[in-house]
């Protein structure tokens, strides 16, 4: 390009044909247009807000919310502020998204592996599951599960009890749980400590194996520590055995752990829907590892578990992780459909807030900001993980 310009000699290129100046001009025009559009929308909005006497800003945060929220992880009552109500909603979203992601990955992996099974029946069933679940809108599935729970299950009086200590009714499922005891806090601490210890052991074992070639049974020792440490704590506190069983009092169950029908329907819908997509991701990942890799690993005498751990999984995960991340994000974003079946997630609480205060712009902006935060933090974490498992090329 440069050369041709120079050879053009005395005829100078007019400035409007200079690509650099053109680029700057074009961007300037684009920004002006976007700015004008933004100015137009904002000024209209301000005029409209003034006309309707709506004050902008987040001062409503500190006002009393005066509405109840169906379920909450932290203490909350109608006398609390809007800010706390929104926090309750956000925690509810995190709860369903977290539990959903964990179950989805497990279920999706099973179905993906079943799809590749040599068992014809199992493989075909998995294929049907994947195709059917992917082709039905998630919202419809949520309505369906909610209707099933609400219409088919009996009232709490004659609740079904599929196993001792579990009662299923159209008000939700009541579980028997161990009665609150100070030991539980320490058991949790012991569990966290055990996880950290196992992580350190794994690092040490890897380094040692790289240095000396000696193998350390990390997996078995790890399992023993993770289950053993909390168990020892439990023994140390004198084996508290008392159980908190749900009892039918008045119109509903009291005590135990009560899971609402909305939560169950939402969780079921999200998990069953997303698992179909995860299964496809897992299947593609496993198929991406060529057959020769397995054969080569077996030829050098690795045991089947080591073949999986050292050869197949590291390569399959590289293919699986990026699309898996986007499926997990989809699950989190789809959890916003909770508003349709009445589970008090963030969108539902924000919606109530908008209806009560009339602060629609702030409300919708909050919804967007919260989901953007979830999305960006998840993808940041997954990018970090992805970098770790990515192929290191020479």
């Amino acid at each position: 390009m440069r050369g041709s310009e120079d050879s053009a000699g005395p005829q100078k290129v007019p400035f409007w044909l200079n690509p650099k100046i053109r680029a700057i001009l074009f961007q300037f025009v684009t920004f002006c247009l976007v700015g004008l559009l933004a100015y137009y929308l904002v000024s209209n909005t301000l005029i409209n807000l003034k006309r309707q006497n709506i004050a902008t800003g987040f001062s409503f945060f500190h006002k009393e919310s005066s509405f109840e929220v169906g379920e909450s992880l932290i203490p909350y009552s109608a006398a609390d502020t809007y800010a706390r109500a929104l926090l309750v909603g956000a925690l509810n979203t995190i709860r369903v998204a977290f539990i959903g992601v964990v179950i989805t990955i497990i279920l999706g992996t099973f179905i993906g592996v079943a799809r590749l099974s040599t068992n014809w029946l199992l493989s075909k069933l998995a294929a049907i599951y994947i195709e059917v679940m992917q082709d039905i809108p998630i919202l419809l599935q949520l309505f369906f599960w909610y209707a099933i729970i609400y219409e088919t299950l009996p009232s709490p009086q004659d609740a079904l009890s599929p196993a001792a200590g579990i009662y299923m009714s159209n008000r939700g499922v009541a579980f028997t749980i161990p009665e609150a005891h100070p030991a539980h806090k320490y058991m949790l601490l012991a569990f966290v400590a055990a996880c950290m210890i196992v992580y350190l052991i794994r690092r040490w074992a890897r380094k040692r194996q790289e240095r000396t070639g000696q193998f350390f049974p990390t997996f078995r020792v790890g399992i023993a520590i993770i289950f053993g440490l909390p168990f020892i704590t439990w023994l140390a506190f004198g084996t508290p055995m008392k159980m908190d069983a749900p009892k039918f009092i008045g119109f509903n169950f009291q005590g135990g752990l009560m899971v609402s029908p909305e939560f169950i329907a939402l969780l079921m819908g999200l998990v069953l829907y997303t698992a179909a997509f995860v299964a496809e991701v897992v299947r593609a990942g496993i198929q991406s590892v060529s057959k020769g890799q397995r054969e080569a690993a077996m030829a050098i005498g690795l045991r089947p578990t080591l073949v999986l751990n050292l050869v197949i999984l590291p390569q399959a995960l590289r293919v699986i992780v990026p699309p898996l991340t986007s499926q997990m994000l989809n699950l989190t974003k789809n959890s916003s459909l909770a508003v349709a079946i009445g589970y008090p997630d963030f969108v539902s609480v924000a919606n109530t807030t908008i209806n009560q205060t009339g602060q629609s712009i702030e409300g919708v902006a909050l919804i967007m900001a919260v989901y953007l935060f979830f999305s960006l933090s998840t993808s940041a974490f997954m990018n970090w993980y992805n970098k770790r498992v990515a192929l290191v090329e020479r």
Binding site: N48, L121, L122, I136, L140, F144, L337, M368, S375
Partner: protein, 361 residues
């Protein structure tokens, strides 16, 4: 010699070929698989016959709600007695042939477009005319058709309308965004990245809320859009970001040589894109574009939340009649079958296309 001749005539053992051989190879090879097969068969035996009984034998097909409750099986009558409302919503009863005709035109166009040999200029004109006719049929007011307010639109035509117009309008916008994201101009690039990542980071429902409650604030006093159009805008803005990412994939797959060759014969940016890059890039991304169409089709169901009467909402409304209360399973299964048929045929088509396109290159 004699023995060799005899050996040729020996057939493989019956346990290795035919039905028995197939069963042995595919269902009972190994202890684990046999166990799986038995467990699965037991599970199917437990689930399928009662389901079949519920759906076909004990079911009521064309009765009143009262008779349904006594039948004990599935009550398909809730659909057969309300099908006009479920399919067309509050559209005036005697005018319902119009959305029906519009849907026929749409299906006809889709069916004709299946064949890639038909992908020529006339098809594009046919689509433009077809979409225009569909809009005219729905809205009326011309050629002696009675005008029908868009507040009365509903049911399956609304669902299809939102999906088809959503993708057709989102596609050019998505292509522009993708080109902007690949642009060398930092300002344009930043704007496009900001837009795409912002939209992809939030759920569709937040955009629908925005369309329902904030869009009216954006407009000067006195100017109003109807609710369907606002929801349509939200769906377009949302889909465009996803189209942009798919198209970007296609652009990235183009080799540098294509750009350099176009530049060397003196094409400017616009011509390079229009004549060289986009025709190839967009062809690569046809299969993923079909999957976006599938998601757009499924996502239209979310307009239920802002109270538009799409297919899902009309079915729910049919349930609110006391006579049909409590038959939600049947109607949801019915709607699920409709969605499934739509999505399944599209995904099948996309797989077929993928095969065809991959063998050609």
């Amino acid at each position: 010699m004699e023995q060799a001749v005899q050996a040729e005539e020996v057939t493989p053992p019956v346990t290795q070929i035919g039905v028995i051989g197939w069963v042995r190879h595919n269902l009972f090879n190994g202890v684990f698989n046999s166990l799986f097969t038995i467990v699965t068969l037991f599970f199917l035996w437990k689930v399928v016959p009662p389901l079949f009984r519920w759906a076909f034998i004990d079911s009521a097909w064309h009765t009143s709600g009262q008779a349904c409750r006594q039948a004990g099986g599935a009550c398909w009558s809730v659909i057969s007695m309300n099908y006009r409302f479920i399919l067309f919503g509050f559209y005036p009863y005697e005018q319902q042939w119009r959305p029906f005709l519009a849907m026929i035109i749409l299906f006809g166009l889709l069916f004709y477009s299946r064949n890639r040999n038909h992908w020529k200029k006339p098809l594009a004109y046919a689509w433009i005319i077809g979409l225009f006719t569909m809009g005219l049929l729905m809205k009326g007011g011309l050629l002696g058709l009675k005008p029908v307010e868009s507040t009365q639109w509903g049911g399956l035509p609304l669902t299809l309308l939102l999906a088809v117009f959503g993708l057709t309008a989102a596609y050019p916008l998505g292509v522009i965004l993708a080109l902007g994201r690949r642009s060398k101009m930092p300002g344009v690039k930043a704007l496009c990245i900001l837009y795409i990542e912002l939209i992809r980071g939030v759920p569709l429902i937040s955009l629908l809320f925005m369309s329902a409650i904030i869009f009216p604030l954006f407009l000067p006093e006195g100017v109003t859009f109807n609710k369907i159009l606002r929801a349509q805008v939200a769906i377009i803005l949302f889909t465009a970001a996803y189209v942009a990412e798919v198209v970007r994939g296609g652009l990235q797959a183009m080799s540098r040589g294509q750009y350099e060759a176009a530049e060397s014969i003196g094409l400017n940016y616009y011509l390079t894109m229009r004549l060289v890059i986009l025709p190839q890039a967009l062809k690569i991304v046809i299969p993923p574009t079909v999957s976006i169409l599938i998601s757009a089709f499924k996502d239209t169901s979310l307009v239920v939340i802002i109270a538009l009467f799409d297919l899902l909402k009309t079915t729910q409304t049919a349930l609110s009649n006391p006579e049909w209360m409590g038959f939600s399973r049947e109607v949801y299964v019915f709607v699920a079958i409709l969605y499934f048929l739509g999505c399944f045929s599209m995904s099948n088509y996309s797989r077929k296309l993928e095969r065809e396109l991959s063998t050609r290159t």
